[in-house]
């Protein structure tokens, strides 16, 4: 029963990783950039949610929506200001810029409100304990899981059924051919940043409700772990990020459940190392040689 309990926790945690990992993977798929500022967009989402709930007295869903909108705009803003001018620069230049943007957001946040952590109010979602076959599940984690799943389904629909989603897939496959179809590549890249950042913003609010404590540097570790999740699933592959996130969350919870909770973070990065050694293209990736 203990095992199932940990599995449930792992899936909740994993769905948060998956939401963040989606943004990593989508952005990588379209501009071949590991956007290291992505974890900080997640942090901004958590704070927007916090102020929306405590300051504006919004409920969970309006706060979630607001955080997603603000993060989408932030993502587009970052892309236009920091990455777009470097579209034809070397990859390393863009990568270093991403790290710079990440630090700017983290310390900008500390400058704006201080470094002290705050606590999400615990009363936003009803917190009933539900007993199921001897396993205790809080109604909160069910709601959180459902929200994540709905967002992921929504994303799949956008990517596969809408015009902008098809444009995104076309640009990520071959940007020049996409231009010949009349697709505006810059707008498509912006849309990708917007959607990815909105998902990170949602993850921020969900994280706040689940783990209570938020602070300006909270994005670093989940951001890195979501990156691991994206690599685990195969970077650039959307279903890969979802599965990678869930697998990573479950692995971490099981490690904690076995009594090695101090090893939790370590295990995530061991997973990264193992994947890079044995299957660098990830669980869902095909072994494709880099185009020259």
């Amino acid at each position: 029963m203990e095992l199932i309990q940990q599995l449930v926790n792992g899936i909740s945690l994993g769905s948060i990783y998956a939401l963040i990992a989606l943004g990593y993977t989508m952005v990588y798929g379209i501009v071949r950039l590991i956007n290291f500022a992505h974890g900080d967009v997640f942090m901004v989402g958590a704070f927007v949610g916090f102020y929306a709930i405590t300051g504006l007295h919004l409920g969970f869903f309006p706060a979630l929506l607001l955080a997603m909108v603000v993060c989408a705009l932030l993502g587009v803003f970052i892309e236009r200001i920091a990455y777009k001018p470097l579209r034809n620069a070397t990859r390393i230049a863009v990568l270093i810029t991403a790290i710079g943007v990440s630090l700017l957001i983290e310390y900008g946040m500390i400058y704006a409100r201080g470094a002290q952590p705050v606590a999400y109010p615990g009363t936003i979602l009803p917190d009933k304990k539900i007993e199921l076959f001897g396993v205790t599940i809080s109604s909160q984690s069910i709601l959180i899981l459902c929200t994540s799943i709905v967002l992921m389904i929504l994303l799949q629909l956008i990517v596969h059924k809408t015009k902008i989603g098809k444009a995104m897939r076309a640009v990520s496959y071959d940007a020049e051919a996409a231009r010949l179809m009349g697709i505006n590549v810059d707008n498509t890249i912006s849309a990708t940043f917007a959607i990815g950042s909105a998902l990170a913003g949602a993850a921020g609010v969900i994280f706040g409700i689940y783990y209570i404590k938020i602070e300006p540097l909270m994005g670093i570790i989940p951001g890195l772990k979501a990156f691991v999740a994206a690599v685990l699933g195969g970077i650039g592959i959307i279903p890969g990020a979802m599965v990678g996130g869930l697998v990573l969350g479950v692995i971490e919870s099981l490690v904690s459940g076995l009594g090695y909770s101090l090893w939790r973070d370590g295990v995530a990065f061991i997973v990264l190392i193992l994947i890079l050694i044995f299957r660098p293209s990830g669980l869902f990736g095909k072994n494709v040689k880099e185009k020259v």
Partner: protein
Amino acid sequence: MLKVDSIDVFYGNIQALKGVSLEINEGEIVTFIGANGAGKSTLLKTISGLLKPKNGDILYEGQSIAGKAAQMIVKQGISHVPEGRRIFANMTVEENLELGAFLRKDKNEIQKDFEKVYHLFPRLHERRKQLAGTLSGGEQQMLAIGRALMARPRLLLLDEPSMGLAPLLVKTIFRIIEEINSSGTTILLVEQNANMALSVADRAYVIESGRVVLSGSAEELNASEQVKMAYLGGH
């Protein structure tokens, strides 16, 4: 219809086109023949807006389109079938065709064009739910042409449609090019296969290391000793 007026195009410091001029009249098939690296693809990329000319101008229906964004040029009725097909291999045949009509909003007319393309290439209809990457080379070329037609172009730019295809398929593709032309689409065809190209074209230009060295009607060039020596394998 299209007038290219002494354009210079550079890749960094390397000049790929040197004062190239040409003219295409409505309804024609005009071909550009030349060896690998002569600048044929560069010319098409410059017309379709992927590259910007440094000097010179490109007039389409009397308006300058030189240096305009590619999506504006597609919108005005110029479609480009790029070298190597460049289909979206991770999407289905149907989705590839849909992307060809990306800028159009006239749903009913798009549906008609789907039928037209499937009529022109029945193979694509059979395989419409298949991923484009699983098609054979010839089918991919058909898809690339069909995808460009979905934009309902008035001028179609074709870059090496015969590349890597078996002789029989080359014939089929060229027959279809003539068919597309006779239904009212003007065609600019770039080819290494000079024999085939001259057999369908009205007029032709010969390009050598970025310069137009010869031009005339297809018959004239077919008869020209210079062309025979260099491109038709004659003696």
